[in-house]
Symmetry: D2
């Protein structure tokens, strides 16, 4: 294959483009995981990661990719045969449900249309029907990566509380953490699941469980067999800055660098940047006269946008065209959305020019693929963005 000049544009909804400072930190020499340098690093990142989850409780860091943290959330809090209410927001919610079933839990599925956020009434009904409190946990994906729809976690907590139901609240924030505002403590989440490869701007390989006191209490009575994912030994070792088994030291070095970058920019500025990119993307899609997968405007994700292809056009053919034509990767449609939607990632370490480059690559691909689209997409996006100083004065 001949060389493609310039940088590949990785505009999938994660893994995201990793900043050079983070890659450099990862590429520093591997350290003794039982020595003082490792201990200082561990204490540093174990503290710093709490600010991202907005929690005062401990956050467990696994040397494993995000799916592992899903498993950890389940096996530490639930016992074999326990019921869990799972909100079907899209493909990743389905995968998590499938995992729960494989692990021997009884799933009560709350179906959805994959285009809207969770309906609080549906959760309220399900909990109201569960008079004996057999449901031990409600599990939901905050920002469904397959659809670009975000659900209101604080409202969900209020619904559970209003139902006076003791279910734990488990939330997957893999594609929203450090891209969209998220408040583990304030919103009353019991276990938040996170991953390294999206808003945290790291390669895949680390994952997280942010805990609540109730989650910790539940873990003490859970009868699910567990070892690698067990919180008890992890938390005990973490207290001294160590881990019960070899941590992913080089990725922890990268995590420290990434936390420094986030602190330097400021989380609020990070969230605003993502929101602006998403607004520009939606303005562009609207100018193209294409439909968003998300049909509730207030629920549209700030970290990715899923776009529906018009009837008779293949999203996968478009993505192949864009890859060949502009050396850019877009996210594919997953499950029933395969070939029906494509997903634009606008999260992690990117800026306004990267958003515009992305949209121009999509537009050239759409035109080359013969998809009928409206004019002025880029102009619409530029009007929203206008660069770091905000919209260009009209």
């Amino acid at each position: 294959m001949t060389r493609q000049a310039g940088r590949h544009a990785l505009q999938i909804p994660g893994p995201t483009n990793v900043p050079a400072a983070v890659l450099d930190a990862i590429a520093r020499p591997t350290i003794d995981h039982r020595g003082p340098a490792s201990r200082a690093l561990a204490l540093d990142v174990l503290g710093g990661i709490r600010t991202v989850f907005k929690t005062a409780s401990p956050v467990v860091i696994y040397p494993a990719s995000g799916t592992g943290a899903w498993e950890a959330a389940l096996v530490n809090t639930l016992s074999p045969g326990d019921r869990v209410l799972m909100v079907e927001t899209g493909w990743f919610a389905s995968l998590w449900r499938r995992m729960a079933e494989r692990l021997g839990f009884v799933v009560e599925n709350l179906p959805g249309d994959w285009r809207s956020p969770v309906r609080a009434e549906a959760v309220a009904e399900a909990l109201a029907a569960d008079r004996r409190h057999g449901i031990k946990a409600v599990a939901i994906v905050h920002n469904e990566t397959s659809t670009g729809v975000a659900s209101d976690i604080a409202a969900l907590r209020r619904t559970i509380d209003a139902a006076r139901h003791p279910a734990l609240l488990l939330v997957d924030t893999i594609s929203s953490l450090a891209s969209m505002d998220y408040r583990h403590d304030e919103w009353g989440v019991d276990v938040t699941v996170g991953g390294s490869q999206k808003g945290l701007m790291l390669p895949p390989g680390l994952s997280f469980n942010a805990l609540s006191p109730r989650a910790l209490a539940a873990s003490e009575t859970s009868r699910s067999p567990r070892s690698f994912w067990a919180w008890d030994e992890m938390l005990a070792a973490n207290r001294n800055g160590f881990f019960p088994y070899t941590p992913s030291t080089n990725l922890l070095q990268g995590l420290k660098a990434a936390l420094d970058l986030l602190a330097d920019e400021g989380l609020d500025a990070v969230f605003a940047r993502h929101a602006r990119a998403a607004a520009a993307t939606r303005a562009c899609v609207a100018a193209w006269s294409l439909d968003l997968q998300c049909r509730v405007p207030s629920a549209c994700s700030a970290s990715l946008t899923a776009v529906r292809m018009p009837e008779g056009h293949s999203a996968d053919a478009l993505r192949a065209e864009v890859l060949a034509r502009s050396d850019m990767s877009l996210g594919n449609g997953l499950g029933p959305l395969a070939d029906r939607v494509f997903r634009i990632g606008h999260l992690g370490d990117f800026n306004d020019l990267a958003v515009l480059a992305t949209l121009s690559g999509v537009e050239m691909g759409l035109r080359a693929s013969g998809v009928p689209i409206g004019a002025g997409g880029l102009d619409a996006a530029m009007a929203v963005l206008g660069g770091n100083r905000g919209p260009v004065p009209g």
Copy 2:
């Protein structure tokens, strides 16, 4: 803290010093884990890693550190309540046993003195006593990282076969893989557990299960709940060059680079290099008149050497002295060996001068700590090594 000039000497028995070419590969931009570049990379490393395990069967690569692969070996082959015969070679064998217990398996422990390899007769006795074949697996650490004692896996297999016992053979090769000769197929191993951070010269974060057809068959009937570690979905996805969940793409890029380096040097040359370093280290220790933890010469590890401190001297004080004095990390004594032994890692990407630097750092530390030692340690090591061309003509 003021700067220490020069490179830190990471002479623990893993993680090991990572070559620049591997660090560079890890620090390349993160790629789309569902795109063609990722697929090509996956097929490449999934093929290449087999040559290191010396197997024609599939090798599962987990985006998780080595301990996870222990768990995977157990939950894929055993069902809750199954019995497993575990050979107590040292600390890591103990940890694995503890894990098996936490996961709900019934462990039959074969005690050892932590200074010798497995005794085939003891295994033969245990299996002979198990007339109903309740023991479903025999688990052993090939190269016990806490003691520097290696066991003869081929002989163990012959023992099991001679007993006409159907138990599976599970082997941890974390600190021997790619440092000492290991033959998954020829030796009849059913599941081999490996990690990235030792002989493979990668940072921690990847781990491996090499399988046998019998292990695969066992996984089809195992009733242990599992999802992240499940072989079935992993193998199905791997066939097309993909993974059922996000792989650790950047570490896979590093794995490709590491496999290239191993192939370039040649596995036999790699093993010979490690054996030479170990022989030089033992010659030096003998000149110092210190005792090895391993008391069976033919069983001494090629990848690390555990040295016993004379009575009344603290191994941890020595290690602290060496760290402060020579900026070198040595491995600590684990469990009952804490403060009693120190461990010298001589594995991964190192050469003869690194061995001599290591030994000189230990000698200066021993002298400064007031440990009585004999003279001529370095001379003895140089006589064995003589550099890449072998011993200096006497």
Copy 3:
């Protein structure tokens, strides 16, 4: 200062964005400049660089930035008091003239309007007037980096030959080499001056003199005092793969990587990519209704475009706005063009999406600065580009 997310866009006309593979090669450990690895590297790059200059004669590589190679071209071929005819194409031509004067040569300046290429007739007249052949050399900048105007070197050679004048032809190709077609031998150039930091995709720090047999002959009789820049000792040492003084070994490692990238893509593909980017940029500027500094369409540079600001608008204010708003560096106006033009670099390691990102950043800056521009710039550029597969079918 708070962090700017994403990558800085370095869209000046050099130094250019350096590919990761080149940066990695530069960051490899420094080698013994007198050892076999250095020798192999030197012979490799001394051979490879000839293909970029399209010459069978030697190319001298200086461990110094481009301005040094200007000095080398002069002091090796001319003697104190010699006359040189210098074509004033713009700012860099003026700097070279000033250097010649400082070095004690007598400059005959051929004035220009800084918006057009060299006029062959003017050169012909000057040479015809020089009946005694006092002019020893004609010096010209192939691609004037301050204006974006390229001159026809082959035609200039024909003009000199037609005048039956023995003057040497010295050509600065700093901002065109490896971006635009250039043929040292075929075009009859005597000394070509090049630098590392533009089309060669390296950081600044290396510079080049490609020689002709006539230039070499001239150097044997030149009486200019010289040592660091002297060709004789350099060529003698190069023959064996060495240098008369310490070379810039790490940049040479990068040069090897860069030559590999150029060979992999193919020089013709590289030139076509630059030409396409330039055409798209000019189409965009035309849609904006702004003027190009270059007013001879066939002479417009493929590696950069200088754009004139409308009266009453400051180019420097625009550049500051673009830097603050979009984290992008544009080239400034130089000398009399200060604050009057801004320059867009579209050379080195870039692709279509980078061109579009650049143009969108300029457009947002123009609008925010209140510069009256026409609509549809991005659309015009996309129509030209359409990605690697060429224009989108209309």
Copy 4:
């Protein structure tokens, strides 16, 4: 060629091993050399480098390797035909003399035996004989890299002053700067020449002229033609944080990192570390019963040690043996010392274990080459070093 495991040992007297932090800084993206980031960087390093030279006067930084700074020192201060007294300390002094001759200056050579430092009386005599003050400068190499002999610069200045002679003092400190104490202002040096690739722990590619007010005054009347090396335009541009032509931006990024490392360790600690390494090396050579090239103990260099081979043994054969056997590069004998001495570099970013590794590689090479040597070299070195905490208590 098959791979050599581990790191190549670059133990020549420069270029030296570059720390990872410096290589990383060099490999950061290239910046706009006319933008604010470049300006801040320039002002930072132009200030910081003064502390290394210990001067309050400006230091010029050339984007060129060290030999260029020799030329700059001469052409800025001397006029064609000027006489310069050059002290012949060894090979590099000879090369500098040859350069001066090529540049048209009249050299008065003060011969030496290449084994001793400059004799003050000889200089005094030469200056006394120069009643008309025709000698415009005295030029000397502080630390002769070909012999490992250092001269006393402060004493030389006193000698010149005692002679009431107005000659400028030009000093080459390429292999001593940032390794051995050097005081440009206090010692009354007029131009100090430095390079990046030794004690500054950078790759080759930058060089320096530290100036004195008298040197600056001399440059105003010098009639040597010059442009690239001219101080006037450089100093004028530097005042605002810019350069008159493209600087070597990426190496400047590395310089900043290197200055930070030196400041962090502290210059006095750096000098002590080098002195200790040199003492250990000499103790080892003494145990081997080999001769040092330097025969004045108080003048032996702290940054390198040149060792004489016994009659009948080839230094080049030894170096080839060491390279093949231990993957280590040693410095060769230069000029009349070719094949007679080998040179051990112990400067830059190294520590005690690196010194011991180096000496063990040399010892194994000596034995393998059949060179008769005494025993106990390593023991002698360890007794001197004992690690960062100093000698091991006997």
